[in-house]
């Protein structure tokens, strides 16, 4: 195993916005290609920050994050867009462009890459088929259910055939049935070799997955188990789910 190059490595990473606001403290872990990692913890534990550091939306205050053993903070600003095409992102609020159809939302990710129109018209229907939305290509996000919107978002994340999918509470706004569908899709994607990082505080999902679990508490890793269970305890701060509806996007 030691010969395998980690896809992501956190090396004593801390992040603080001010002295009082320490979001992450001394976070160290290694993720190998093809792993399925659940990142659990109550709201404010630092899950989203860990993810943001991976897709370079934030940079560490101390320490370093490596992607394929290359320090992410060393990536030239100009090259960041290209770097981000290696990482598919999925969010609780779907982050779809409201004025574009399902097809156009996915196509946009290819358009920015300068792909030929023919190629786009070949690949987008394929990926929509994979996420089970072959018949909804022409619909706008507002015409789709939450679960369907999340599947569009997942299809968009997949279109660049990324090495890593980062999912930040992807089921936070979904009903149990849609939640199961999304998790099933993530597992399928993972079975093709894509590394998945799933941040969630849904105990059922994590317990059923029976995969690696890292638990964060107040910005620190408190446990890292190969086939873990959800152990995050409700802390002094009440665990209030974020109220984000697709209409706010």
């Amino acid at each position: 195993m030691s010969n395998v190059v980690p896809i992501i490595r956190f090396d004593h990473v801390s992040k603080h916005f001010s002295e009082e606001q320490r979001v992450l403290s001394d976070v160290t872990f290694t993720l190998l290609p093809g792993e399925f990692l659940s990142l659990v913890g109550v709201s404010g534990a630092g899950k989203s920050t860990v993810l943001k550091l991976i897709y370079a939306e934030e940079i560490p205050s101390e320490g370093e994050v490596y992607f394929n053993e290359r320090p992410i903070s060393g990536i030239n600003r100009k090259h960041l867009p290209f770097f981000r095409r290696n990482i598919g992102t999925v969010f609780q609020d779907f982050k779809l462009l409201p004025n574009r159809t399902a097809f156009e939302n996915i196509a946009y990710a290819l358009e920015v890459d300068g792909r030929e129109t023919e190629e786009i018209h070949r690949e987008v229907p394929e990926i929509l088929e994979i996420v089970g939305l072959g018949d909804k290509a022409g619909q706008y996000p507002r015409e789709l259910s939450g679960g369907e919107q999340q599947r569009v978002s997942l299809a968009r994340a997949l279109i660049h055939r990324p090495k890593v999918i980062v999912a930040d509470e992807p089921t936070g706004n979904l009903d149990p049935v849609s939640t199961q569908e999304i998790v099933k899709l993530l597992l399928e994607i993972n079975s093709f070799g894509t590394t998945i990082i799933l941040a969630t505080h849904n105990k059922d999902i994590v317990d059923n997955l029976n995969r690696r679990v890292i638990t964060l508490e107040r910005g620190r890793i408190v446990s890292d188990e190969a086939s873990g269970k959800y152990t995050a305890k409700p802390s002094a701060a009440p665990n209030v789910p974020r109220q984000v509806s697709p209409k706010n996007i």
Binding site: Y55, A56, R77, K78, L80, P81, F82, R84, R85, T89, K95, L96, L97, Y108, A109, E111, V112, D113, G114, E116, T117, R156, H160, I249
Partner: protein
């Protein structure tokens, strides 16, 4: 790949223009008006300047000498005048024979004039010196200097008022057009800049959340910026075309009034047409600079990585 991306961002920019509706219309309207006013005032300043140079040649002080004054004496006076190089630019001697020849060339066909000349029996005209000043304001000084000089007795008459009134009036128009053009032009440029800026700002603001999404799927800053640059470019191009068409209409309608006033004998319309290329390019450049500048300024604060 580059052209494909350019085309896509262009298409996106045009979609923005369409979605903005009235805001796009207002931007184009105010921008056209600004460009029109700038164009008109510089055109008026330029054409009055041309009229001035045209008339300048026709303004002079003509000193006519008594018939008994010898040519040597006149040449002596000419020499004296030519010494005041600061005020005098040229002195031309016109002998009475030449004056008559020129007069006949101009009016020779007129029967009554010919008869009158025959009746007089000799050349009734005077030899004269035509003095041109380095600057129009010196004519009065020159005329006064000649009148109070030692050779005032030899002079039959001094005519310096010829064309002077017209000259002064046009000079006033020229000065007014230049000042008004500069003042009004800069005010309108400022207003146009602000309005374009805010149009772009509002468009960009409505796309604010989309930028985050676009970044996440790997769009480069330039790719997100280009639609707005194209949007600005569109406003600039359309406005400069509208302003040029208005200018053309105005100069056409002024055409009959200004016929012959221009050095080449044409009117403002022909002058405008003659310079249409440069006028259009100037307005186009100004429009494009204004709008793309506004667009880049407006987008700057939204695009961080």
């Amino acid at each position: 790949m580059k052209t494909l991306k350019l085309w896509r961002t262009f298409h996106e920019g045009m979609t923005n223009v369409r979605r903005n509706g009235w805001l796009s219309f207002a931007t184009v309207a105010i921008l056209s008006l600004s460009l029109f006013i700038i164009g008109l005032s510089s055109f008026v300043a330029y054409s009055t300047h041309l009229v001035l140079t045209n008339i300048k040649d026709k303004v002079n002080v003509t000193i006519s000498f008594n018939q008994n004054v010898s040519e040597e004496r006149i040449m002596e006076i000419k020499g004296t005048l030519e010494k005041s190089t600061r005020e005098v630019s040229s002195v031309e001697y016109i002998p009475r024979e030449q004056a008559l020849a020129e007069f006949l060339a101009q009016n020779g066909n007129d029967e009554s004039i010919r008869k009158a000349l025959e009746e007089i029996g000799e050349n009734p005209l005077f030899s004269s010196l035509v003095v041109k000043a380095t600057d129009p304001r010196y004519y009065e000084v020159i005329a006064e200097a000649v009148q109070s000089s030692s050779f005032t007795d030899d002079i039959s008459r001094i005519n310096y008022a010829k064309n002077k009134k017209i000259f002064e009036r046009i000079q006033l128009i020229n000065r007014t057009a230049t000042t008004a053009g500069l003042t009004l032009g800069s005010i309108f440029i400022a207003v146009a800049l602000i309005i374009t800026f805010y149009t772009m700002y509002i468009t960009i603001h409505s796309h604010k959340q989309e930028f985050e999404i676009m970044r996440l799927v790997g769009a480069s800053n330039l790719y997100m910026k280009m639609p707005f640059i194209f949007e600005g470019l569109f406003y600039g191009v359309v406005s400069s075309i509208i302003a040029s068409v208005f200018l053309l209409t105005v100069s056409r309608s002024l055409g009959p009034i200004t016929e012959g006033a221009m050095p080449l004998g044409g009117s403002t319309a022909s002058l405008f047409l003659h310079h249409f290329g440069i006028i259009f390019i100037g307005l186009l450049a100004l429009g494009i600079i204004l709008t793309t500048l506004s667009a880049s300024l407006a987008i700057r604060r939204y695009l961080k990585i």
